[in-house]
Amino acid sequence: MSNHVFALQERLRGWGHDAQAYAVETKPGAVDVLPYRRLFRDVGPDDLVLLHFSMGNEVFTQLAKLRARKVLVYHNVTPAEFFRGINAHAATYARLGRRQLAELAPAMDLAIGVSAYNQRELDAAGYARTAHVPILIDWRAFDGAPDDAVMARWAGTRPLLLFVGRVSPHKRQDDLIRMLAYYRACIDPNARLVLVGGYRDQPQYHARLVALVAALRLEPAVTFAGAVSAAELVAYFRSASAFVSLSEHEGFGVPLLEAMRADLPVIAYDAGAVGETVDGAGILLADRDLANAAEAVGLVLERTDLRERLVAAGRTRLEAFDPDSVALRTREVLGL
């Protein structure tokens, strides 16, 4: 369950509404979240239900029948092609998700894409009323103190390339590892890569990534940090030299903005909504040539003026996602 939901809940409560988060599954330790089954009892025709959709689940077919105003918030569904042959379970739910996206259309009063890219998919899926409102980011946790242990562990390690995102075939961590091989051979032998993101959902892909690291003899240079706390996340962003993404599918790309918030230069492959999220405040890679990708990172790290311009552009870019404006836009779109 994303921070987006909690940020939204807090805003809604601030506007005097009685807002409650419900989930199919909750992370251990999550507070103030109720099981989704309660919805069928709690909700009435005058209520507004926001359905956050990013993966198929049989539950959505039930939720579509709720007698309430229903708004789909679409975070995009990763196409099944990325999981085929590597994770049959994920592929099944991805396929279901695409099918449900179309099936849910008639039941929704409104569908909100968190990017223009997502909104286009909603339009194509047959939603009558669609809107585009970015993800609401609560920067308070991100602006807090970084984790000391992580800071100490990575102090003085340069260059440190960072990617944040769950370990999954569509995020293409395998290409980041290959790119690092080029980087260390042709640009800087001290380069390290940290992959922050949970890998429990993709054990097969993770195991194969570990094997790839071993085959390329990159063991000491690649770190799988796994799922991390907010303080640890901040520490990784503060320790890194650049944020590099070779992901082939993104519905929005929160870590791109987090990198900008942490004054990191962003180098990203232009896929899905990446281009519109970055919008000039980073180097977009047009093709999947990994040597070019590595040299783009190398260029940014060598040229202080270029790096500073990207960081400055990132700060400007963040203004477009200012939480207060996004909250107002959400309120306007929801008619609250």
Partner: protein
């Protein structure tokens, strides 16, 4: 500090150049390339990658066995679930087998059909393609009178060897001290001979195999190839001079530009290039003698050739004319407007018949 937006196009060019530099320096070697192409261990390639090249992947998949592990690892109930699954599998086994057998046949047939379609799209398609190729080939041949008896043509119209020698000799000085000069369109080997006389190492390339044999018998290194094809095969920075007499008028403008680009790549920094071609600024050439060779594609005005070299990044570009016309109007008339007019006519009609453009690749 400049706060303007980052010029991504310039940056892309710089990035590509950096990669090229690493490749030229040998840092980006086969080992690194192998690392970049290293397959993900422990199974098939990612399906999203296979979609990029589906046919080989399709054949691999057809050969693959589908396996299913019925074991449940759930605590307490795991054993019962495993047994339950096995019982169900046992019960529906032959039904599933019938379905998979039919599906297998469909898959095999479809794969075969797709592969056949790739190898031979269709009889009508093949026929049309063959006709198109034949017509295209005939057009290319007709355009340059490919059916003409070249021996007879050469006997009547070929340039005088001593004239070629005299003209070529005036350019030898530019190549002094060079170690590997390419004579593109080396013909009878005249320029190679001049180079050897001066102790300059060089080699020739010409499409005429028969002539090359004769030149080779005189101890010269010549290769039989089309100019652009050869240039493309030459490694970066591996030659340090290029001489090309009466070649440019035989190729299409696009090919000429491609040749200039390949030359720049193949030549070491600070190397000279010389292209000699008929001078259409002399009207008796442009309107008459140029067309005496049906293999000439189109005349190239000196200003245009000069521009080609400049725009392709050559430095210190200059144009030199040579071979004055033998026929000229007599300028032995009283001074005044008439003599000026005669001079002008001489320059326009009976000027130099050839010109050379000379340029240098930039220093590193």
């Amino acid at each position: 500090m400049n706060d303007g937006p980052v010029d991504l196009v310039a940056l892309q060019a710089e990035i590509r150049e950096r990669v090229q530099r690493k490749r030229a320096a040998g840092v980006y070697d086969d080992d690194v390339r192998a690392a970049l192409e290293m397959p993900l261990p422990g199974g098939r390639a990612l399906f999203s990658d296979e979609l990029g090249d589906p046919l080989p992947a399709l054949q691999d998949v057809l050969a693959e066995e589908a396996t299913y592990d019925a074991t449940s690892h759930r605590r307490l109930v795991g054993g019962a679930i495993t047994v339950g699954r096995r019982v169900v599998i046992g019960l529906v086994r032959w039904w599933i087998a019938a379905i998979t057998d039919r599906q297998e046949r469909i898959n095999q047939l479809l794969a075969r059909a797709v592969i056949d379609l790739r190898d031979a799209p269709s009889p009508q398609f093949d026929e049309r393609l063959a006709r198109l190729e034949r017509d295209w080939w005939r057009w290319r041949e007709d355009e340059v009178a490919g059916s003409l008896e070249s021996t007879f043509f050469a006997a009547r119209f070929s340039g005088d060897e001593s004239v070629i020698r005299r003209q070529s000799k005036s350019f030898v000085d530019l190549f002094r001290g060079r170690t590997r000069v390419l004579d593109l369109g080396s013909g009878r080997g005249t320029f190679l001979e001049l180079l050897r006389d001066e102790g300059i190492a060089g080699y020739g390339v010409d499409p005429d195999a028969k002539m090359n044999e004769e030149v080779r018998s005189r101890g010269f290194d010549v290769q039989t190839a089309d100019g652009l094809t050869h240039l493309r095969s030459v490694a970066d920075d591996s030659i340090d001079g290029l001489f090309s007499r009466h070649v440019a008028e035989h190729v299409l403008p696009g090919e000429l530009i491609a040749m200039l680009r390949e030359c720049r790549r193949a030549l070491a920094p600070g190397s000279p290039v010389v292209f000699i071609t008929p001078n259409p600024a002399t009207l008796t050439v442009g309107a008459h003698t140029f067309w005496l060779d049906p293999q000439h594609r189109r005349p190239i005005p000196p200003e245009l050739f000069h521009f080609y070299l400049e725009v392709e990044g050559y430095e210190r570009v200059e144009t030199r004319t040579s071979e004055p016309s033998e026929t000229r109007l007599s300028e032995d008339v009283p001074a005044g407007p008439v003599r000026e007019n005669v001079k002008l006519l001489n320059a326009t009609l009976f000027g130099d018949r050839d010109y050379a453009v000379i340029g240098w690749t930039p220093h590193a």
